[in-house]
């Protein structure tokens, strides 16, 4: 019973990873309903029944991908240190979030698909963990503003703006590249642009 047991053989572990990688590829491009097991199996290089030997259902594959994704996504925000220098901490967060978007665009699009479709499989996580973490970090931002160490601005919308600006480069990648044309490095340019933007926005 591979799907339940904890210890897995090397080949089982490898097949699971192949499946999850293929599923990430397909789900991130077509959303949950638009993705098919046929596609996933083909990308993974397995037959459909063999795929279903490792996971009990399409839903189960998707769930494994989503579980943990939010954590990975929020780790950079968690790392924002209340004891650090405000501008350094915020710029560090922007930098780490942009690096995530550059290095894990499929994960970003999987997340975007889920939210776009009303977050049917992440509702409670968003209203729970995400809400609480943002509330906690907003309080820190607000304190920094009260102390005059950064300029005053709505803390939650400041966080939204970091999400929007970094994820845009992963989620709308084809649009960004089509508009820029050849000979550009979108993420490198974005890094410089966002540094300027948040520096001017938050300079005390």
């Amino acid at each position: 019973m591979p799907p339940a047991a904890q210890p897995r053989s090397r080949i089982q572990q490898k097949n699971r990873e192949m499946i999850l990688d293929a599923a990430l590829e397909v789900f991130s491009l077509h959303g949950f309903r638009g993705a098919t097991l046929d596609q996933i199996a083909e990308v993974a290089g397995l037959s459909k029944p063999n795929l279903l030997y490792y996971f009990p259902s399409k839903e189960a594959v998707h769930k494994v991908l989503l579980t943990g994704l939010l954590d990975t996504w929020l780790d950079p925000l968690r790392a924002m240190d209340p004891a650090g220098d405000p501008l350094v901490e915020i710029m560090g967060y922007v930098r780490r979030k942009l690096d995530l978007a550059r290095d894990f665009p499929r994960e970003s699009r999987l997340f975007a698909n889920e939210i776009l479709q009303g977050a049917p499989r992440m509702r409670e996580a968003i209203e729970g963990d995400l809400h609480d973490l943002v509330a906690e970090k907003s309080a820190i931002l607000r304190r920094w503003m009260d102390e005059g160490r950064i300029a005053r601005v709505d803390p939650m919308h400041l966080i939204f703006s970091i999400w929007a600006l970094t994820q845009h480069y992963a989620d709308f990648d084809v649009q960004v590249r089509a508009v820029l044309g050849p000979g550009h490095d979108p993420f490198a340019e974005a890094g410089a642009f966002l540094e300027t933007l948040f520096t001017r926005l938050l300079a005390p």
Copy 2:
């Protein structure tokens, strides 16, 4: 032959609109592949065969929705006047784009779905009209910067940032509301936040 003929009866016109409205609802929530004619027909209050009397295929319905969407989406940018006051023109663009996101969130999500999935049905429009318009308006922004009327920043990424920040409130609506909690008006707060952001970014 209603699908081809130009002049349509009142009832035909009304049914076409009902179908397109229903299709917008369903496509924007599930993407092209995830949407089904059953759903669209049910939302429109018609039978599935009846829906297919007005449109030859699912693809055709989707195409009608996309056609013209990009134009509507870009009109606010087109309206940016090279002869106007730079900050007023840019803030006006931000304002109109945010209003679009607030008033037409389904259109915004339809567009987001299309881009997210690699723009299979909009590629040429994006590489053509969109690219050209952004190139034209970027030149205007660059001239304003050269004249010292606004602060210097990468013009294309400035436009990207306006897209990202305004569309985020439509596309990630459920996340924004979940994080803010009850008693908030996301779009009103966004309006104030974005005014501050772009004013500080672009003040000469």
